[in-house]
């Protein structure tokens, strides 16, 4: 039996009925990585000892007749911006190439407490800045659905690992679409909960008012199971919400009759006709499932990219000031004095996109420009959030494309940062508003080369249960393979 293609529930049944051991499941994945990741290059580092030790603990629990948590023995990949104690956490950056994490992120700790088996750390754009994983300081990751194309980003390694069966599920981080867009490109499911739903303790900060940790999986149910485990209050993250976590798996009833599905007109105008065609079929499927389709307006959408790139770069310029070669990270061996050491360490340690964003963020916060750029963007953020609050008076969920373009070729868009930023249009709006979003597969583009299309579903703050119910009903009705 090929253990690498299974869902969480299938592995759980095999372990419970003693048809397989967690060690066998883990070894099967490590062997598959050994063979397949030469081409995909989704992992930056593996932690086989940690994985096998954890698997042995799970097997011992089974042998002792203990009840197994749903995630016990499940192989997980973790994006390399999330701390794993005693292991490298590089953020895809030369500046942290030799950094060993001194503690576990809360999300990692919760997964391991639930018995999950962490296989290794996945590639990403440097400090999660990018949409293709080509900004990794180490190497680009390839899309398992077409190795000549990018897996999306910034969590491209996690998405590619799950798509290529190199892990059952994965953790990523999403600031402006970094979980949802690679899910769409790699033809899998990825979710960002409400801002504050999942603790960011141990997530290396990029833009603190926008950063999230969230799950990837090959089914909505698997994503729900991971979110269930990592969500909830954490005293170590003061932005984490002290609100109870709903029963996400119990919400997956398959019945979404009467759900009001909003379709924002602004999001479909001028869209690539092939992607538009698939999304329209997805919307029609919701109609067949008994939903009411409601056209809505999100009038400030065209300002979202400008707003997002001012806010995220401003926050990044402040967050990345800590990389100065003093307490951790790369220090330039040649320098005249302390100031020179900061500058040379940062210039040699950071890659082009990170420098570009630090420069932009420093500029928009600088004296004389703060009001014109940063304060202005914060006010526009209020308007974008208000668009959603008003829309959710009329609808329960909102359906959009995840990306306006299908996965592109490696190297195709590297020289034009603005063009790359503009492709984030459908994901950054939800990030600015802090609402939850999920990307699910929505068939393939009809003409050759046939490429994955992703559909994004958004919901109200803390309405993850309803969001997952809608996504799961869509999956059960065959939405992933729409044609």
């Amino acid at each position: 039996m090929d253990f690498t293609t299974l869902t969480i529930s299938q592995i759980h049944e095999l372990l419970k009925s003693r048809q397989a051991t967690a060690v066998e499941i883990t070894q099967a994945h490590l062997a598959h990585i050994e063979q397949k990741d030469k081409d995909v290059r989704s992992y930056l580092s593996l932690c086989p000892e940690r994985a096998l030790e954890q698997a042995k603990r799970v097997d011992a629990a089974v042998a002792a007749g203990e009840a197994l948590a749903p995630l016990a023995g499940i192989p997980v990949a973790v994006k390399d911006v999330i701390m794993t104690r005693g292991h490298h956490t590089t953020c895809g950056s030369h500046i942290l190439e030799n950094f060993v994490a001194p503690y576990d992120a809360t999300a990692v700790q919760r997964l391991e407490r639930a018995g999950a088996v962490i296989l290794g750390k996945t590639n990403c754009d440097e400090f999660a800045m990018g949409s293709s994983t080509e900004n990794s300081s180490f190497f680009p990751t390839h899309n398992p659905r077409d190795l000549t194309r990018v897996p999306g980003g910034s969590s491209g390694g996690s998405a590619a690992a799950v798509a290529a069966n190199l892990a059952t599920v994965a953790l990523g981080s999403d600031t402006g679409g970094s979980i949802r867009q690679p899910s769409a490109f790699c033809d899998i499911v990825g979710m960002m909960g409400t801002y504050g739903r999942v603790s960011r303790y141990g997530l290396v900060a990029f833009a603190s008012s926008l950063d999230h940790i969230g799950p990837f999986g090959r089914s909505v149910r698997d994503v729900a199971l991971v979110l269930q485990t990592i969500a909830g209050n954490d005293p170590l993250d003061s932005t984490c919400a002290a609100l109870p976590v709903d029963d996400y798996v119990g919400a997956l009833t398959g019945d979404i009759r009467g759900t009001r599905v909003g379709v924002p007109t602004e999001y479909l105008n001028g869209l690539n006709p092939e992607i538009r065609g698939n999304i329209q079929k997805g919307i029609d499927l919701f109609g067949k499932l008994g939903c009411e389709i409601v056209p809505i307006s999100l009038p400030h959408t065209e300002y979202a990219i400008g707003c997002y790139y001012i806010i995220c770069t401003a926050e990044a310029s402040a967050n990345l000031a800590r990389y100065d070669g003093v307490r951790y990270g790369f220090r330039s061996p040649q320098h005249d004095d302390l100031r020179d050491m900061y500058r040379k360490s940062r210039n040699l340690g950071f890659g082009a996109e990170v420098k570009r964003r630090i420069m932009l963020g420093t500029y928009v916060l600088s004296s004389g420009y703060y009001d014109a750029y940063y304060l202005k963007a914060q006010k526009v953020r209020t308007l974008i959030t208000r668009d959603f609050v008003e829309a959710f008076d009329e609808v329960d969920v909102i359906v959009t494309p995840t990306s306006p373009i299908p996965p592109f070729k490696l190297g195709e868009k590297m020289d034009d940062p603005l063009q790359m930023y503009l492709a984030d249009i459908y994901t950054v709006t939800a990030s600015l508003a802090g609402i939850p979003g999920i990307s699910v597969p929505c068939g393939k583009t009809p003409s050759e080369p046939s490429l994955p299309v992703g559909m994004q579903i958004l919901a109200k703050h803390f309405d993850e249960a309803n969001l997952l119910r809608v996504a799961d009903a869509y999956e059960k009705a065959g939405g992933f393979k729409i044609s």
């Binding site: 001194p102 008012s209 609100l243 400008g306 004095d337 500058r343 570009r356 202005k376 703050h461």
Partner: protein, 101 residues
């Protein structure tokens, strides 16, 4: 407002980045086009709009208040484990005070 080479050098100085001449040439048109693009925000009248610094939700204020109790954290060795250079239990940096001979 056009972004100039002087601006690039000034911002790099503020950000503690020592850019090469090639980087300055490359970044100038890229940053300029991004800044021109974000100018479109000025089409919106936001004089009556409150700025939003953070996503807030009911209970979020209280959620950040808790008793300040010490817990086990890093030992000195753990805190220094990733230091590029250390000595006598401290992070070492190039000398910052000049000695008079």
């Amino acid at each position: 407002m056009a972004f100039t080479e002087k601006d690039v050098r000034y911002v790099a100085e503020l950000a503690h980045l020592e850019l090469t001449e090639d980087e300055i040439k490359k970044f100038l048109p890229q940053l300029d086009s991004i800044l021109q693009y974000v100018e479109k925000l000025n089409k919106l009248d936001t004089s009556e709009i409150e700025p939003m610094a953070q996503v807030t939700y009911p209970g979020s204020e209280n959620a950040s208040m808790r008793a300040d109790v010490p817990c086990r954290y890093f030992s000195q060795d753990e805190a220094l484990a990733n230091a590029p250079e250390q000595g006598a239990g401290c992070f070492k940096v190039p000398s910052v005070i000049e000695r008079e001979e």
